[in-house]
Structures are given as C-alpha cells and as structure tokens.
Amino acid sequence: MLDSIPSFARLVAELAKFPGVGNKTATRLAFFLLRQPKGQAEALAGAILDLQRNTRFCSVCFHITEQDPCALCCDPGRDATLLCVVEEPQALLAIERSRSFKGLYHVLHGALSPLDGIGPEDLKIAPLISRLEQGGFQEILIATNFTVEGDATALYLAKLIQPLGIRVTRLAYGIPMGSELEYVDEATVNRAVEGRRDI
C-alpha cells in the first residue's frame, strides 16, 4: 500500500532507522507529521539540518559542541586537575545533571568490544593519553558503563595511565537513591558490598 505513495514510504523508511523505532512506530510518526501545519514540518527539518551543520566534536574532549573547544573545556571555573572519562556524550550529560563533578571530561565514543571489532584505535584513547602527558591532571575518574565492555575498558585505561603516575579512580557501584535494599537486584547489591568503604 505504502509503495503507491513514494514520499510517505521514504519518510517511514528514514524514521525506521532511528534506534528503538520499528516500522509500526515509524508509520505512526509519519502520519503525525503529515497532519502537522507546514511551518511545523519546516521547523523540524531545519532543526535537524542545523544540528548537523553547526555541531561537531570538541577537539579536546570530544563532547558535542558548536564552538571548538567546547564550553566545558573553556570554563575557567572547572577543576583542571580532575578528568572524568565517559563512553558517550549522554553519560557526560548525566553526570553534569547530577552537579556532583566539577572537573573536565573526555568522551571515548564507545567501549572496547573485540566481538564488534572495536579496539583501542577506534576510541579516543590516543588523544586522551596525549592530553594526560601534557600534565596538570591529578586524578582520572573512569566512568565507563557498568557492562562487561565498560569494565574491560576501565581496566585497560587504568593500566595505560599507570606509568604516568596519575591517580585513577572508578565510579563506585551504588544502590539507587531512595531504594530499599530488598528491592534492589542481587548483582547490584553484590557489587555494592564488594565496593564498600569506611565511614
């Protein structure tokens, strides 16, 4: 049926490329867009083009930015002795939202995963090391994801940074705030117990 309306079929096909969007959802979204006023569709198309045109990766930390270096890298109010390493820009944003970290960032753009063909050279690891070699950092907080791949990447980086004599820390495994212990899954409790500290 869709084949008889090529422009509709094309939009559905493009939307279905989005993560978490299947054909069904893509069709629903396409119908939604069809019913929008003309200005609305143009605004959306413009926003997408602007995003592509105006943003790039910061040449220092590899976060998304419109100016290079990015606002975070240029902010004199941030602690330049502290560096947090994350897999993706989304993780950086999550830590920023928490307002718990006042240092600088470095985005790896992925994690080591031999099965997916992702090795050290596919991540922003070389620029990280040259950043560290320039000196000034006293602590590197590794905040890769708590997955098999994120853990291995953290271990790999720790070994790589060790000769530089900089302190390396890993984000602690925690129990979600406001949760009662009996409802937290066992693996999380297990890791939290292993990572316990003095008070």
Binding site: L115, P120, D151, A152, Y156, E186, A187
Partner: protein, 367 residues
Amino acid sequence: MILENLKLRCYRNLTEADIAWNEHFNIIYGQNAQGKTNLLEAIYLLGHLKSFRGARGNELINHAEETAWVGAVVTQGVVKHRLEIGLQKNGRNPRIDGKTVQKLSQFLGYFRTVLFTPEELSNVKGFPAGRRALLDRAILQTEPAYLDRVQEYDRVLRQRNQLLKQQADDFQLAPWTEALVRTGSRIRHDRQVYLKRLLPHFCQVYREIGGGQESAGLNYSIEQMPLEQLTAHLAGALERLALREKKLGLTLAGPHRDDLDFLVEGRSLRAFGSQGQQRSFLLAFKAAQVMDLEVQFKEPPVLLLDDLASELDNRRQEGFFNFLLNRRGQVFLTSAQTPLLTEPVLQTGSFFKVDQGMVTATSPERG
C-alpha cells in the same frame, strides 16, 4: 509451589490449551508424537526460560505462526503469581503479574521445577558440557542471580576468544583476562558451594534408591578452596597456558572447561559405569536437588517426569519411584504406556490425554 493452570497458544503442535491442574499428581498420556513432551516442556520453560531439549526459541513456535505464548498461574507459599512468556522468532518476553522483567534472572525463582528425563542420561556419560549443564540448571533453580553471573562470564569469554583469534598483544588481552578470572572464579565458587551442600543428600538418596552398598560421590574438577584462592588459581593457570592459548586462539582454562565427575566406589561413571549405575546416578542427582530445594525454600519443587514409565519395570528404580511418590509436592508425568496408569497411588491424580496437539482432561477408564 503449585502450577494452578496453564494456557498455551501456538506452542509447537499445541495450538490452543487451557488446563487446570491437580495439585498433586498429573498424568499426561497418549500415543507418541502427539505432544505430551511438548506440554511438559512448556511447564519446564516457566521455571527455566529454556527448553530441556536444547531447542532454540523459534523451534518452540508452531511452524505456521510468528509468535507463541505460554501463560500460567502459580502459587508460591500462599501468594499467586501470573507468569507469561511471549515467544517471538528472535527472542522471549517474560512477564510477571503483567509486568515485563528487566533481566531474565528476575523471572527465575517464581516456579521451581526439577526435571527427570531419560534424554539427560547421555549427559552422564557424554561430554563435560552435558554434566556442566546438569549442574548449572540445578544451581539456577536455587539462585537466579547465578544466571547473571553465567551470562557475564560467557560474554567475557567470547570477547577474550575473539582477541586471541586476532593475535592481539598482551596489553590488549590483560583487561579481559582479569575479567575472566574475576567472573570465572566466582562461578567455580558457586558450583563448589552448591555441590558441597548437595553431597550429603546425594549420598543418602543414592544408597536408598538402588545403589545398595555402593558409595557414590561428586567430584568437581577444581579442588575446593576459598574464593580468593580460586581467583589466584585461575590467574595462575591462564598464565601457564598463555602461549598455547595464543597458538589455538582459545581460552583454555575456566569454568567453561571444568568437569563434574560422577563417582561410584571412587571410579568415574563416565568410563566404567554400567547403564543401570548411570541411571541410578542421574536419578539420585535429581532427587538430591529435590531434597535441597525443600530445605532451602521450605516448599517442595514441582517434579516433571518425562516418559519414565519404562523405568517402572526396572526393579532397580523401585526405590526411586517410592521416593517420588512420597513427595508432598505437585508432580507431572508423561506416559505412553498403560501400566503406569493403574498404579494405585496415582488414582488420586488427574489424567490428561494428548492427541494430535489437543489436551483433554479425562479419566483412564474413559480415555
């Protein structure tokens, strides 16, 4: 633990079923290849999220359909839960009381079962993988989080093997080796703790159900030691094997290569056991699981007996049947033969006839 009812849609050849079960004995009978074992497999799936026949998810779906669905109400203690598993060609969607689970391990533990099937006999004498599977499935019924640990280990193992195949240097390999040691020694520890707990039950039941004066034992290929020592032990083994690993492109030490030796009078059943001994051994291993679950959870697990009717003729197994029939819990058994149906103790049970994928509650006289 009671399975109150079971509903099936498009599960193998069982296109549509809605069955209310007896809380003690359920006898599923009918000619071969009509769907008896499929029915038992669907019940097993509710407790293990896996087929005991090694079938992949898409094989469980009726070949004319895209999806299948298994739904049940189970009673755990005094609480009823609604369990559902939606099966698609490329995955499963388990739900508890209408809510999708975040992790598969959350689903385990709501319905604990122990399966007895002649098909598993080959595990006793076959490759180590079969015996590891017997052991791992048993642990999963007592500790659902074990599934997370096994999945984590498997992922690390596959990643590390990939690097070994690529001839990656030691520096790249190191974090994966460390992860393998951490997750692998934990699995060995879990297995050893479980076997230590199981052994007394096992020795007792083996003598009772037909082993006579023979002594039986379970021997895990890695000596028992505390977790820290297991960690050092595995790390040391990998260091020694490093060169060979690189040559072969494979991880050569870890729980994925361990074996569980079944011993009678100190000798391995794999090599020396008679068919009868192997059979007794498997039955005792299962019966010990039942006893352990009863102790751990103060509630009997559900027993699934696949096609054990032929065993009835075997005097050696009489003790085993007495053990089973004396259980307080719910029992499901399949049978193609009629002698089983006249066993007096089963007369209190409910009978279900399976014919060309149709399940009907019936009585043996009328059936």
